[in-house]
Symmetry: C2
Subunit: 222 residues, 2 copies
């Protein structure tokens, strides 16, 4: 079967086609005002940080969404990071359209007007980014809105000793692009820009060498 690739001693890989399956992707809620000033919230998984200076985040939205029109008009949005306990409301924001319902009112969550950008944020969510649109990129079905992060706000209750939002306290939600499920975050795995130095250690390199030797012995049929 041509769609299956096996190389040497590596795992066998299967082609699953040209599609948007990758892990992890976020579960973020985008806050905007409509043309009448009604606050709206919409859930998106197509989002991420895309520049450090200026600090920028994007969301990609279909033109058919209510939020797309709102951002085009107001040139501003907020990114709201829900905590695990708000998974139901986060999913609700992704199912229905602000064209038809007042999602803040139905969910009981609180739209708070940003003092920095022309958009509301979700008062109950622990971490929010207030953004002004810098670029609008038409890719295909989705339009990418790149926003400059004017400010990040976090609940005092989720800050750590360094006054930074603690991912363990925020409890962000992941979207599973494969089977369309939500997951929380798990165990601590290591320190970035540090754990990898071990690869150059004698211990790691010796292990590598012994593995190679075993492979060669196998190849020679000894």
């Amino acid at each position: 079967m041509s769609a299956i690739t096996a190389i040497g001693g590596l795992n066998v890989k299967k082609s699953i086609g040209s599609r948007t399956i990758v892990f992890p992707t976020p579960t973020w809620v985008v806050g905007t005002y409509d043309h009448e000033g009604k606050p709206n919230a919409m859930t998106a998984a197509w989002g991420g940080i895309c520049c450090s200076k200026p600090p920028c985040v994007y969301v990609s939205l279909r033109k058919a969404t209510y939020t797309h029109g709102n951002i085009m008009r107001k040139r501003a949005f907020t990114i709201n990071v829900p905590s695990e306990k708000h998974v139901m409301e986060a999913d609700y924001f992704g199912i229905y359209s602000g064209k038809d319902v007042d999602k803040f009112s139905v969910s009981g969550l609180t739209p708070v007007q940003s003092s920095l950008v022309d958009a509301p944020y979700v008062g109950e969510f622990p971490l929010i980014l207030e953004c002004k649109v810098l670029h609008v990129i038409e890719i295909g079905l989705h339009t990418q809105f790149i926003g400059e992060i004017i400010d990040v706000k976090a609940d005092i209750s989720v800050l750590d000793a360094n006054e930074l939002p603690d991912i363990i306290k925020v409890k962000p939600i992941l979207f599973d692009t494969g089977n369309r499920r939500y997951f929380g975050i798990g165990s601590y795995l290591g320190k970035a820009f540090s754990a990898g130095k071990e690869v150059q250690s004698n211990q790691y390199q010796l292990k590598l060498l012994s593995r190679k030797t075993i492979q060669e012995v196998h190849l020679q049929g000894i």
Copy 2:
């Protein structure tokens, strides 16, 4: 203190400035060839899906990186999703530059030539995306490379009953933008496009109503 915002009964929020702190962001390894055909791997957290049709993923990279030049030249890259057990190698790929070292050789991981795009993928990683560059967006310190996903390949061992990559088996790594740490994925929280329907239920709406009544009673000082 003006940087602290309190609204009604909501949590108190603190401004932490214009910076790239948000959760979750991925830990992905970008595979490229240099001008001499040497395979290189570099870790990036500024990445995400940005369009469904055509299926597109991006990574944002500083111009100073070796991978930036490689993608500009080859117009192709792979996104490689490491599993928890490869956190050390993933971090290693993010610390050192392909200008100075052969990172595949030092780490012992296997560069496999894609048959679809002019880039290598990491044979040991369970999930990979093969991409051709569609757009190059200069944002600021970072250049955003938007790639069309030509194919997704997954280890057979991580597929579920629907022949889709199972996030629980892939065990992707999250990058914590606050304190620069790595985390795994955690518990199942709910089904997307389903859990949120509960918000419209009588039970949820009755709870909301009773909460509002209690707040009003408090406000009236009864």
